[in-house]
């Protein structure tokens, strides 16, 4: 039998084995709103890469973007900031920058050459007054035209539409065949997506920038913008009566079951098709826009780094900023998320058909346009959404809508 001192020796040895040999790496508490199945799988790619580089990832997932951003802002103001917080590639975090509440990651950006591979639209959002305040992690395109091949077959449509006029013809054929031409969810953000698609495809990139970026009152009250609004309203006649309040994924489900023909939605819709075991090119198709020079609308997610003087936290922030933009991690994250990487110098062989299409278009700088939120602050964007959703649901004269939009964007 063992005596007392031998037991003590065994206990000490056991405890020695249990304690880690080296100190844990820099701890990073990350606030984000990626709580759905696909999104969680995507953010896990970042946490795995960070852990592999020696860090400790503390995940603080908060459902609903607005809530997560609220919590992040409150914590930053309250003095208990997270190491990193998720925002969109928009003006949402501009107020934080102006109040001096964020650390910049200029040295990581200089070391990895961000200004060489980031698209100009994204660069203009993350770089404020010459300093880099956010790490962009993906690019989503909100205005893809998805269509169900089964529904097209039933309506006798052989090829996918190549122009807006052909799209309206296709919608008419679907209506004649007794199917729902346009699957839509009646929520303001979805109406905003349909409008953005019309502005880009009917109005063109120049008008798009004049309205969203320059708030040019003459352009807004002009004939070209009137045509855009009329095309937007015309699409409403192809939507079924149960649309108000419907969630976007329920609308995608209508395409998956072949009940509806077309949906205008972002590339996150791919996740729904994939979950239903449908493949692009075979069961469904994706059209980024009409015409050889159609615009690729850019929106996405970024991580900001709240101000702190704690050396460990700063180390963690720089590690995060570096890891999130590594090409291989970018591809793995985007594959799970449904987006495309924020850099075009990646190996696209493991990306699906629609993502490859998107990446190819991104390489052409002249086709890059930012989403409305890139150019307008949340207040202006919200005011525009209110007017658009009222126009979609009610019979308002188009001239009044033009006047209201000009007034809303003049603020």
């Amino acid at each position: 039998m063992l005596n007392a001192s031998q037991w003590v020796a065994i206990l000490v040895a056991a405890l020695g084995l249990l304690t880690p040999v080296h100190a844990a790496g820099p701890k990073a508490e990350v606030i984000h709103w990626w709580t759905s199945g696909g999104e969680s799988a995507a953010v896990r790619k970042f946490s795995e890469a960070y852990t592999a580089a020696g860090g400790v990832w503390v995940d603080t997932a908060i459902a609903v973007g607005e809530q997560a951003r609220s919590v992040a802002v409150n914590r930053i103001v309250g003095g208990n900031p997270p190491t990193a917080a998720q925002f969109n590639t928009t003006k949402q975090f501009l107020d934080l920058v102006e109040q001096g509440m964020l650390n910049n990651v200029d040295d990581v950006a200089a070391r990895d050459g961000w200004d060489k591979f980031l698209p100009e639209t994204v660069l203009n959002v993350v770089r404020v007054k010459g300093h880099f305040y956010a790490a962009p992690v993906n690019i989503h395109m909100p205005t893809w035209f998805w269509y169900s091949k089964a529904a097209f077959k039933r309506a006798g449509i052989a090829d996918e539409p190549k122009s807006m006029d052909e799209l309206f013809l296709v919608l008419d054929k679907l209506k004649a065949a007794g199917l729902i031409p346009l699957a839509h969810g009646g929520q303001p953000w979805q109406e905003s997506i349909v409008f953005t698609a019309m502005l880009a495809n009917v109005g063109g990139s120049d008008l798009y920038l004049k309205v969203f970026r320059d708030h040019d009152a003459k352009a807004i009250q002009g004939a070209a913008f009137k045509d855009v609004l009329l095309a937007f309203k015309r699409l409403q006649s192809y939507v079924d009566k149960g649309a108000p309040g419907r969630n976007w994924n329920d609308a995608t489900a209508m395409l998956i079951t072949g009940k509806a023909g077309v949906q205008i939605m972002g590339d996150w819709a791919k996740g729904e098709f994939t979950s239903a075991n449908q493949t692009p090119g075979k069961d469904y198709g994706c059209i980024p826009g009409f015409g050889p020079k159609s615009a690729y609308i850019i929106q996405g997610d970024v991580f900001v780094f709240p101000k702190t003087t704690n050396a460990e936290a700063i180390k963690a922030q720089k590690m995060l900023a570096g890891i999130m933009l590594v090409p291989a991690t970018q591809v793995e994250f985007s594959n799970k998320k449904g987006s495309i990487p924020v850099r075009t110098d990646v190996d696209s062989s493991r990306m699906d058909l629609c993502a490859q299409k998107g990446l190819a278009i991104m390489k052409d700088k002249s086709r890059q346009l930012g989403n409305g939120e890139v150019y307008m602050n949340p207040d202006q964007n919200g005011a525009l959404n209110d007017i658009l959703t009222a126009y979609w649901n009610k019979n308002l004269p188009v001239e009044k809508v033009q006047k209201d939009i000009a007034a809303a964007l003049a603020n």
Binding site: Q92, P188, K241, A243, G245, G382, T389
Partner: protein
């Protein structure tokens, strides 16, 4: 001398006991109201700023179609909700007061909806009123092919669906409180009324109702606060839709506080809401104060 210091001490003790509550009221309630008032005169966005812009936010508020619609919705909703709740609650209380069998069971059943959160109520009623899957579909499947009940997706009728859902929920509470008031009525009144040969309904309207005046006033105040606060039912039933048709002031303010990052406009909206409530309640309070003073001076 001795009596004086005892009185002072007693007052001091009472003041000390009230101090925490008084501090909370002054700092948390009044203080924040004054702070909101100040913010509504600035151009604060995500963070409070000290740059005063006069009445600019109020001007912008009243040029905003969505805000004007929300005020209109609040007025329509308020009138219908309070009237329907009072009427249905009073009738239910009267019926239960008739010493029916299973009175305890009925009381529980009618009060049960109030135990649900407004969010759960909103969700369930949204499913019920959905034209494709709810009541309309059920009645159509029973054979009435032309039956339509799609108020929830109609721009003009959607506010009435919110009234229906919340009246269903709150009537039970009104019933419970008025029943308590009715139970306080002396049996002798009924005997006297029967002797005089007055019909039952006349007794209720002319004699009982004035006697339960305080209960009715309490219920009215409770319902009024529920009307001003209405937010969760709208969010869970229609999310303010279709479009912005079922917008209410509370939702407008919340949206601008967080999503739109415009706390100045949201503060202006909340000050306007506060003034509206004060305008409604002040005459009522004044009338009661005068009645109390009359009672005291008799």
């Amino acid at each position: 001398m001795k009596i004086n210091s005892k009185a002072v001490l007693r007052h001091l003790v009472s003041w000390a006991a009230l101090l925490p509550m008084a501090a909370t009221v002054i700092v948390a309630y009044l203080g924040t109201v004054l702070w909101s008032l100040k913010i509504s005169f600035t151009n604060s966005r995500t963070f409070p700023s000290d740059e005063l812009v006069g009445f600019a936010q109020y001007v912008r508020l009243f040029n905003n179609d969505r805000w004007l619609l929300s005020l209109q919705n609040l007025a329509v909703y308020g009138v219908l909700f309070i009237a329907a709740c009072m009427l249905i609650g009073f009738l239910l209380a009267v019926f239960i007061d008739q010493k029916v069998m299973g009175e305890g069971l009925f009381r529980t059943v009618f009060l049960y909806p109030y135990a649900m959160s407004f969010v759960a109520t909103g969700l369930v009623w949204q499913w019920l009123l959905n034209p494709g899957n709810g009541l309309q579909q059920a009645v159509r499947q029973m054979g009435f092919g032309d039956f339509t009940f799609d108020w929830i997706i109609d721009q003009d009728m959607v506010i009435y669906t919110i009234v229906i859902a919340t009246v269903w929920q709150a009537s039970g509470l009104v019933m419970a409180m008025l029943l308590a008031g009715l139970r306080g009525i002396d049996e002798e009144i009924w005997k006297a009324a029967r002797l005089d040969g007055i019909p039952t309904w006349r007794v209720y309207v002319s004699i009982v109702l004035p006697m339960i005046g305080p209960s009715v006033a309490t219920v009215f105040i409770l319902l009024l606060t529920a009307v001003v606060k209405v937010f969760d039912s709208v969010i869970s039933m229609t999310q303010g839709g279709p479009g912005t048709a079922s917008e209410v002031p509370a939702k407008f303010i919340m949206d601008h506080l967080f999503g739109r990052a415009n706390i100045a406009l949201a503060s202006a909206g909340s000050i306007v809401l506060l003034l509206t409530v004060l305008a409604l309640v002040a005459p009522f309070m004044y009338a009661r104060a005068r009645a109390d003073r009359k009672e005291a001076s008799k």
